[in-house]
């Protein structure tokens, strides 16, 4: 018996603990489990839905197809019914009926999720928020917006911008994602650095529970310490504890001056030092700090024909400032840029103050996900790590995978310690997957990181929860799920590990 070092023992311990989430498919924890014994949809069920939602009960397979597949085209379900309620009352009646009939339901917003959480696994009924797109109220003194869950994020942004406000979150999927989906996945995005997470900006929720009860916690108050803060349970619960039907959210004022700088760095260490300098010199006007590596840039150039505005560098940074005074902000920004250029932390860069140029620079960061889809099959990892370790993971994976992977790229919200690690191969490759997982999760766990910083667990990562949460916590999550959804009809097979039952 060889002498085990402390590290070996810790790793063995890890593996034992983490294999507990493996459920039905130990070889492939992300794959679908066997179908649970829910009822199947009958003609009577369809008749009920058609009476409740005339013209909004979809059963045409062609129309259902796009709602059965996720945006990445990596998971596909077999739902035969798509429901489009317009009101909270309709959602309540749908869930009350489904709960009684023991029919599984998959709530669906913009279907832009990246972990397979927004599409059915089997024949779950799809409950779409696409027709729940009314803005209910907006108070332009407090900046509090109340709206239905199916409002598209970009539409809300446009609505608010006309009134001199903005949404506190922004992400690449803004043209399609629904605010209800954003809240139920606690979406992060590009502005989190400045405005914080939805856990702080969401002031109230209206949720329909599994048995159809309507929970109206749509308060529009900045401060309200009266009892347990129930909305926090639903934020990030990925549709497994209740269906969010309305949101009230605190919106910041639209900044008068927005500037974007696109910089090149020759090493990750210099990138981190640039970040420190940035924090110090730009301080309160900093609203985003994102990075992408040289591999991302070549994919953008290759597939989307975007141009690199500066000289080729190993790393690129996108910095955004947002403030109320253009002259003040530009002065600060130029001082910062002068500092990082003269100290050689940054090797090249460009700045934009006009909307068209700003959009062009942002697209270099926002469209990386899109560029990757042209490379074949993408294995996506959304990891939180101590910020200085972020790129070590990318380099380690490159070494570990060697020729098995076509691309290994890193980009993301470096300001928030959040890496988007993406690995591509021309087509789905089980051998590659086996080399990546659980290696990437063990690596993350070793550095006490999160295996899903903002994308959530959905279908694909549900069984890896133990890499980032202790078993007592997961057990308590199971108890809460059992209490709020005893029949387990809300978005089954997602978020919680298979062995929770």
């Amino acid at each position: 018996v060889t002498d085990l070092t402390a590290v070996d023992r810790a790793l063995i311990q890890h593996r034992c603990v983490h294999s507990r989430g493996l459920g039905a498919s130990p070889g492939n924890p992300g794959a679908a489990p066997p179908r649970l014994p829910f009822s199947r949809v009958t003609q009577e069920d369809l008749a009920f839905f058609r009476t409740l939602l005339p013209g909004r009960t979809i059963t045409d397979p062609d129309l259902l197809k796009s709602s059965n597949v996720d945006w990445l085209k990596t998971v596909e379900g077999n739902s035969e019914v798509l429901l489009r309620p317009k009101t909270t009352e309709e959602v309540s009646q749908i869930l009350r009926y489904c709960n009684e009939r023991n029919l599984a339901v998959c709530p669906q917003g913009g279907n832009t999720g990246l972990v397979g959480g927004s599409v059915p696994v089997f024949d779950e009924i799809i409950l779409s928020t696409s027709l729940m797109k009314q803005v209910i109220t907006f108070d332009n003194i407090s900046g509090i917006l109340t709206c239905q869950a199916g409002c598209v994020l970009e539409n809300l942004s446009n609505y608010l911008e006309e009134r001199d406000f903005i949404m506190p979150l922004d992400l690449g999927a803004k043209g399609s994602c629904h605010i209800g989906g954003n809240v139920s996945t606690n979406a992060g995005g590009l502005r989190l650095l400045r405005y914080g997470s939805l856990r702080g900006t969401v002031l109230g929720l209206e949720v329909v529970l599994a048995d159809g009860r309507i929970l109206n916690c749509l308060a529009t108050l900045r401060k309200d310490n009266t009892g347990y803060d129930l909305k926090q349970l639903f934020i990030g619960s990925e549709g497994t504890l209740g269906v969010i039907t309305a949101v009230s959210i605190l919106c910041p004022r639209k900044p008068k001056a927005v500037n974007v700088a696109f910089l090149g760095c020759s090493s990750f260490q210099q990138l981190l030092e640039t970040f420190q300098c940035c924090r110090g010199m730009l301080g309160e006007i900093l609203s985003a700090f994102e990075f992408l590596d040289a591999s991302c840039m070549s994919l953008l150039e290759k597939h989307l024909k975007l141009t690199n505005p500066i000289t080729e560098s190993p790393f690129y940074i996108v910095i955004e400032t947002a403030g109320s005074n253009a002259t003040h902000d530009e002065e600060k920004l130029h001082k910062f840029l002068e500092e990082v250029m003269t100290s050689s932390l940054v090797t090249d860069g460009t700045v934009a103050t006009e909307a068209t140029k700003i959009k062009a620079l942002w697209s270099l960061r926002e469209r990386v996900t899109e560029a990757l889809t042209h490379e074949g099959y993408t294995y996506k990892y959304d990891i939180s790590l101590p910020v200085e370790k972020i790129y070590d993971l990318v380099q380690d994976m490159r070494g570990h995978l060697g020729d098995m992977a076509k691309n290994v790229v890193g980009y993301g919200h470096v300001g928030d310690g959040n890496l988007h690690l993406n690995i591509t191969s021309p087509s789905k490759d089980p051998a590659l997957l086996a080399a990546i997982e659980p290696y990437v999760y063990e690596w993350t766990s070793k550095w006490k990181g999160s295996i899903s910083a903002e994308h959530g667990l959905g279908l694909k990562k549900r069984n890896y929860i133990y890499y980032s949460k202790p078993s007592e916590a997961v057990a308590l999550m199971g108890s809460i799920k059992a209490m709020l959804d005893p029949k387990g009809i809300l978005n089954p097979y997602k978020t919680l590990p298979d062995n929770i039952h």
Binding site: I310, H334, V346, D348, G349, T350, E354, A355, T356
Partner: protein, 254 residues
């Protein structure tokens, strides 16, 4: 070559901004609205800088007419590679009524004063869409013009210009000095990179008044009113073909 190029750059409301008409309908709202260099002027600057990089011209001078703020626009041209700038000060009511005729008089006067060999302008500005300044400047100077240029080449002491016209492309050869106006496909303007932005801060911008050039900027045009385009009426969705036929009959269409 010792050629000097004059490039006109106009400060306009940014292309991506939603334009709003002033409540008194005398114009559009410009206060607090994001402005930037006219996209066709950017293409003009890029072409001039390219010619300098090919050593076909010696100096690029960026010119803009307007109030203090146009200096930002000139600085952008300097950051793209222009050597120096000239700010022709026009402000207040004069600026509101400044149009192609006055600007072309100013440019003609400057071309003579600076002994320019080539003037490159954008084909039109995205705010007024006049498409007149280049042509008027050439006429005032009695210089040949190559407008809507999608390609410009200097051959000996002549200019070969490929022009985008309705029927396709027309290639002409004109003598220097000449006026060229840039069309969309002439080039893709470069981003101003940080080292150049830093250098641009040290480049000179001279201040000049129209009167110094012997130009009267008063306008012979009066804007009567400015209105938004009529709102598009929302369409009506119908459930069945039967409904569609019914609605068409109602509207007297069939």
């Amino acid at each position: 070559m010792s050629a000097r190029v004059l490039v006109g750059v106009k400060r306009v409301i940014d292309y991506a901004v939603k334009i709003r008409v002033k409540p008194d309908r005398t114009g559009v709202v410009t206060d607090g609205v994001k402005h930037s260099m006219n996209p066709f002027c950017e293409i003009a600057v890029e072409e001039a800088v390219k010619l300098k990089e090919k050593k076909l011209v010696k100096e690029v001078v960026a010119v803009s007419c307007g109030p203090q703020q146009v200096q930002e626009t000139i600085r952008t041209a300097l950051a793209m590679g222009a050597d120096r700038g000239i700010h022709v000060e026009v402000s207040g009511k004069d600026y509101e009524t400044l149009g192609p005729l006055q600007v072309s008089k100013i440019l003609a006067a400057l071309a003579k004063k600076e002994q320019a060999d080539l003037i490159i302008l954008g084909k039109q500005a995205i705010d007024d869409d006049c498409n007149q300044t280049g042509q008027m400047t050439a006429a005032l100077l009695d210089w040949p013009q190559g407008t809507f240029a999608s390609e410009v080449n200097i051959e000996a002491d002549k200019l070969k210009v490929v022009r985008e016209i309705d029927g396709g492309l027309e290639t002409i050869k004109i003598n220097l000095p000449a006026v060229v106006t840039a069309d969309l496909r002439l080039n893709t303007p470069r981003y101003a990179t940080l080292p150049n932005i830093m250098k641009a801060k040290k480049k000179k911008i001279a201040n000049v008044k129209p009167a110094d050039l012997g130009v009267d900027v008063s306008s012979r045009l009066e804007v009567l009113k400015v209105d938004e385009p009529p709102q598009r009426q929302a369409g009506v969705k119908v459930e069945t073909v039967h409904d569609l036929v019914g609605k068409l009959k109602e509207a007297g269409r069939i």
